[in-house]
């Protein structure tokens, strides 16, 4: 069959959406519980944590960097949030402080990478270990409950509440992606992020403060890891010291599945939503089919590999 040029372009542009739809339809054929509203909302809620982290990761990867510290940041910020609430700090202040802490951890990553000229992989690997250690020290290795103050009840709603039947984390996710989209598409920060990922030297010589861009994107990533930490902690009404382990890899997988190039400069946040959904749906489908978690990991890895290989062929 001869494809016209515009058809082909359409296919390439929306390949990940098409992939997602085809993938969902196949699952729906094999499992009639999959396409129920309850299950779809469930998938979206479960996906929200990875999506929020992956939104921040998209910024980083677009600049040609990587952030391995997000999982640890999620754990530490969650623990701080829980202990703030249990000591009676008002909800809004606790939330702001926690997000600020996340942003600060990210900012430190940015400083080490920009000023210290350390490879992002190494800098954030070290930060990942440091923050995990800090979390274990802070929590003494034990979960921290959010406590009995009224603020803790309000906070619980962030993880499990619903508006018009839709879970609260989904609203948070949508809001964050709208913001991320706006930043990347319509502001100079977004423009600089693509420029930096495309050609750092040329960006510098264009009179742009490249270091500042790095501080900002790593701070965004840290702040969003903190938001994910809030959702996780709210849902359980407690913070786990080992929370978020390995989440950085799921986030990177979502970004890459969404078509963003690890070399930087190409891709975007819409693709990341699709990528996160593909991972979420896959997990859900395997659960529905009663596949044990060991096999789930195996399947997830294979799907990511296949998707990336197909993606490469399109280019």
């Amino acid at each position: 069959m001869q494809m016209t040029k515009s058809n082909k372009e359409f296919l390439i542009k929306y390949k990940s959406v098409i992939g997602l739809v085809v993938f969902s339809l196949i699952i729906a054929i094999f499992n009639d519980r999959f396409l129920t509203i309850g299950n779809i909302l469930n998938v979206l809620r479960q996906t929200s944590i990875n999506s929020v982290i992956a939104a921040g990761m998209t910024f980083i990867i677009l600049t040609g960097g990587i952030d391995l510290s997000v999982g640890s940041t999620l754990a530490l910020t969650g623990a701080i949030m829980a202990s703030l609430l249990s000591s009676g700090v008002p909800l809004i202040i606790a939330v702001l402080l926690t997000i600020l802490l996340g942003a600060f951890i990210g900012f430190l990553n940015g400083v080490v990478i920009a000023k210290g000229k350390v490879q992002p992989f190494i800098a954030t690997l070290a930060m990942m270990t440091i923050i995990r250690g800090a979390t274990l020290i802070f929590t003494n290795g034990r979960p921290i409950s959010t406590g009995d103050f009224p603020a803790a009840d309000q906070f619980y709603w962030l993880g499990s509440g619903k508006v018009f039947g839709i879970p609260a984390p989904i609203y948070v996710t949508v809001l964050i992606f709208a913001l991320a989209y706006y930043l990347l598409k319509h502001t100079s920060l977004g423009r600089y992020v693509y420029a930096l990922g495309g050609n750092e030297e040329a960006t510098k010589l264009s009179g742009i403060n490249v270091d500042l861009i790095k501080y900002k994107v790593y701070a965004i990533s840290g702040a969003l890891a903190a938001v994910a930490g809030l959702i996780v902690t709210a849902r359980l009404s407690s913070a786990q010291p080992q929370a978020g382990s390995g989440y950085e890899l799921d986030a990177i997988a979502a970004v890459v599945l969404g078509g963003t190039s690890l070399a930087g400069g190409k891709g975007g946040v819409i693709g990341t939503i699709i990528g996160a959904l593909i991972i979420g749906i896959l997990n859900n489908a395997l659960n529905l089919m009663d596949v044990t978690s060991y096999y789930q990991l195996l399947a997830k890895g294979v799907v990511i590999l296949i998707a990336v290989l197909i993606d490469r062929d399109f280019d």
């Binding site: 319509h186 502001t187 693509y194 420029a195 050609n199 040329a202 010589l205 009179g207 742009i208």
Partner: protein, 501 residues
């Protein structure tokens, strides 16, 4: 009668939607050097890729040593003794010369152990042939580009190549390196090798080639003996029109001093002082490594200045970064537009505006894309940048048009001082003239312009005043009236001019 060793007849190559080559002929003669000449996009590289089997031709015939050939893979042409040396060298910097020459074809004993002694010995013989004294154990990364090219040639010789294609080999070479490359080429010719030589530099063709084939827009234009053709005729055949004047010199009275540098010192510079007036083009000449680009980048805040002063309009300015420079109305167009100038994956529009987003920023950081598009379009029009749309990725533009985008990107910041570093490097003849006209247009508007160039005719043709550099110092300043090619060269190599100078 000369014997044709490789003949290409009526070659046609189509890509989806484009005819890249149409009815092209090429003859490579035994023990001769054939120049392949044409503007960027004329189809030179495509033709070579068809020859060596990288591309499959749509129509036409190829004969090697009188036999019809049909290479489906570069490996097949390589086995037949055809080697191609690309502009971007295929060497591994971390490996030695010998390892590079025999990469994938190492001499091994039955246990798979590499016979190093034999590899070094064979490499030695090849290097001697090329007049290279380097130890075969030297890492390729430690060699100059010129020597690296010779290693590529050694590799070709080790494959027993009979026909060697050199794709713009001198673009990155210094004059002495170019000379030694030519010596090697002449020796190879004397040994019975045939060559195809692709270059932009017409002078080189007269120096080294026997015949010339000219392509234009994918079509065969002419094959001539070099001795029967002159430079003007070559240009005419290449661009399809007469270039009355290569350098459209504009006489314009310079104004007051706009920019002044006093005793600049840093890692690269030693007591550099000069000034530029309004509506003046200051040409900076010098050999490679004289510190011209370093001077530009130091003024532009990219390299730190340890000592000295920069002033604009009589006021002292401190410039610590390119950002400061742009704020102070200094703009710089790099000599390497792909590496330092453009973000190739971004669109033409986004590249033009990258240094001037402040001017289109609205509430909540929202970028006024409509205004951006209008401005980009006006630059594309006034500079006649050939692009299907403002949204085209810059990497899809030809060299000349990319260069214009790089200049537009500098102009949009509204500079008082514009520094152009090799503004016509890798740009074809037609686009060159357009760029010269553009530079003159802004000169007439009163902009101060510094033009760094390695091509002395360009310096002589465009500048109002000439500064010559040698080893990080200003070795002399010449008014355009007194300047000659010889005087510039003397200063560039560090020979003092007049004693009273």
């Amino acid at each position: 009668m000369e014997e044709v060793i490789f003949r290409m007849e009526n070659i046609r190559k189509e890509f989806p939607g484009v005819v890249a080559l149409d009815d092209v002929n090429l003859n490579v003669y035994d023990s001769k050097i054939m120049a392949l000449l044409g503007e960027n996009g004329a189809g030179k590289s495509t033709l070579m890729k068809v020859m060596t089997g990288v591309y499959k031709r749509t129509q036409g015939h190829m004969y090697y040593k009188g036999k019809a050939v049909d290479y489906k893979h570069p490996k097949e042409s390589q086995e037949d003794g055809i080697a191609i040396i690309h502009q971007e060298l295929n060497l591994i910097n971390e490996l030695s010369i010998a390892e590079n020459i025999f990469l994938g074809r190492e001499f091994k004993n039955v246990f798979g152990k590499i016979k190093w002694a034999k590899m070094y010995e064979e490499s030695r013989i090849l290097l001697d042939q090329l007049g290279m004294t380097e130890d075969p154990k030297t890492l390729v990364g430690q060699l100059t580009i010129g020597k690296q090219q010779l290693v590529e040639i050694a590799k070709a010789l080790s494959l027993d190549a009979k026909l060697i294609v050199l794709d713009e080999p001198t673009d990155a070479l210094t004059d002495t390196e170019t000379e030694s490359l030519f010596t090697v080429m002449k020796n190879l010719r004397a040994q019975g090798k045939s060559m195809v030589y692709i270059s932009h530099r017409l002078k080189e063709i007269f120096e080294i080639c026997d015949d010339v084939t000219i392509l234009r827009d994918g079509k065969f234009i002419a094959e001539e003996k070099v001795e029967n053709i002159d430079e003007d005729r070559m240009i005419e055949l290449m661009v399809g029109r007469k270039l009355e004047e290569q350098f459209p010199k504009v006489n314009h009275k310079s104004g007051n001093i706009v920019f002044e540098a006093k005793n600049l010192n840093n890692k690269y510079l030693e007591n550099v002082s000069f000034n530029v007036k309004a509506g003046e083009i200051l040409g900076i000449s010098g050999l490679m490594g004289a510190g011209r680009t370093e001077l530009a980048k130091s003024i532009y805040g990219s390299y730190k200045i340890n000592q000295g002063e920069i002033s604009l309009d009589g006021e002292k300015r401190v410039i610590n970064s390119p950002k400061d420079a742009i704020k102070n109305k200094i703009a710089y167009v790099s000599e390497d537009r792909k590496k330092d100038g453009l973000i190739l994956d971004l669109s033409v529009k986004k590249n033009i505006h990258i240094s001037a987003l402040d001017t289109i920023r609205r509430k909540f950081g929202y970028l006024d894309v409509k205004k951006e598009a209008t401005e980009a379009k006006s630059y594309i029009e006034s500079m006649s940048i050939k692009t299907p749309s403002i949204h085209q990725k810059t990497k899809n533009l030809s060299g000349g048009n990319q260069q214009k985008v790089a200049i537009a990107k500098a102009l949009i910041t509204n500079p008082k001082l514009l520094i152009l570093d090799e503004p016509t490097r890798g740009v074809d003849v037609g686009a060159k003239k357009e760029i010269y006209e553009l530079i003159n247009k802004y000169k007439k508007k009163g902009m101060s312009i510094i033009m760094i160039s390695s091509e002395i005719p360009e310096i002589l043709g465009m500048s109002d005043r000439i500064l010559v550099m040698h080893e990080g110092k200003v070795s002399g300043e010449l008014s355009i009236e007194e300047a000659t090619q010889e005087k510039i060269m003397a200063l560039a190599v560090g020979i003092k001019g007049d004693a009273n100078d």
